[in-house]
Assembly symmetry: C2
Amino acid sequence: MAAKRSGAQSKRSQRIDVSLESGQEPRSESPLSLERIVATAVELLDAEGIDGLKMRRLADRLGSGAMSLYWHVDNKEEVFDLALDSVLEYRGPPQTVESQDWRGEVVHILEDWRASMLRHPWSASLLPRRALGPNILSRLELLSRILSRAGVADADLNVAIWSLWNYVMGATITRASFDLSDDDRVAAQQRLTRLSEHYPTIERSRLLLDNDWGGAFRKGLDFLLDGLAPRQ
Amino acid sequence: MAAKRSGAQSKRSQRIDVSLESGQEPRSESPLSLERIVATAVELLDAEGIDGLKMRRLADRLGSGAMSLYWHVDNKEEVFDLALDSVLEYRGPPQTVESQDWRGEVVHILEDWRASMLRHPWSASLLPRRALGPNILSRLELLSRILSRAGVADADLNVAIWSLWNYVMGATITRASFDLSDDDRVAAQQRLTRLSEHYPTIERSRLLLDNDWGGAFRKGLDFLLDGLAPRQ
DNA sequence: ACCTGAACACCGTTCAAGT
DNA sequence: ACCTGAACACCGTTCAAGT
């Protein structure tokens, strides 16, 4: 997968935007490029969701023939991989080089991660099914470094990382999919009240209606970090 | 979705296995039924994964014409919904009616949940994208009741439930997808070593090779429960 | 090097028809 | 009530060909 990707990149590496300097705006006649394909794929995914990404539609948006894409990309899978990783780039915090507040840093990374995925609701459920791209690996590396520096023993590091990963992924996938089912919301609501006799506790606490997702996310994260924090 | 399902069920409610008593084994000539369709769909999903479930293949396995399915089921989506919920039924613990050990009960429910999903690796990543079926709601209800009985305040209940849900879903989806990518394992391995210079901390802790998933799951869960436990 | 249209294989589903 | 084959619309991708 990485091999394919770097292959495709090498194909296009030598011609980079010679045309843009001549002042013409990027019309549908502008040349195809991996960047444009990926950016347009993200647009299309944002607009139409995961099932809305069809090679023909993508080509339409790019103003090219459907088959032109296949010169830049091996297959649809690769489009997914590239779109996903492009959305998960991490631009670090204000970066006070060597912060004391490791816990704040961790929370920032994870909340930013969640926010990035929620900005593109298709990304969360896609992530676990794909190979880990460079942007994701960078985040994991950064996280590991911070925790390690904060005093988490090497033997506990993997548990810590995976616990946090699991929590963030679960929270974000769930949240994103609740978002996506706008159309079924009426039906879901009706079913819930109809079923409430069987699920009294859930009904009483309004589990499925509670929408302080951000707050709940943060609280659970705090609990996890309490547990993961190095004993001192 | 619930409406469709109960509609389909009412259609077949009156004829239940009259033929089986006559001693003939269930051959491909045995009549179609929602139960058989769902059971066979689960088999097919287990064998071939999410992309392996095609209506024509499902019909083949059932020894029927492809279109016969559509009398029992509205569409492929419903097959997914039914297969998913059928796999998530919870048969409670040995059931010492009113246990003192709420924490043990919670751990049991969640580990069983995880195990059920891992037995059918396609189920985990499907779950968040589907409406919550009756078996899932039952688990959530049971969980709520236990936590509530254990002293978790109503105001904290939703945070508790969702934190646990998020953690279990994230852990299971991640685990299941690592399982599925057997074919890419070689490539992943190669890439990791090739990239290890960029991700030294990850590499050192062997993050992507650590496979004590069960242990890591349990530890993170303990941390969460420490935080969620009612102060006493 | 880059793009294209025609064509193929495949898939979910509609329909009109069978028993 | 239950099942079916033919047919349609749609989609990813191959191929042979253009410039």
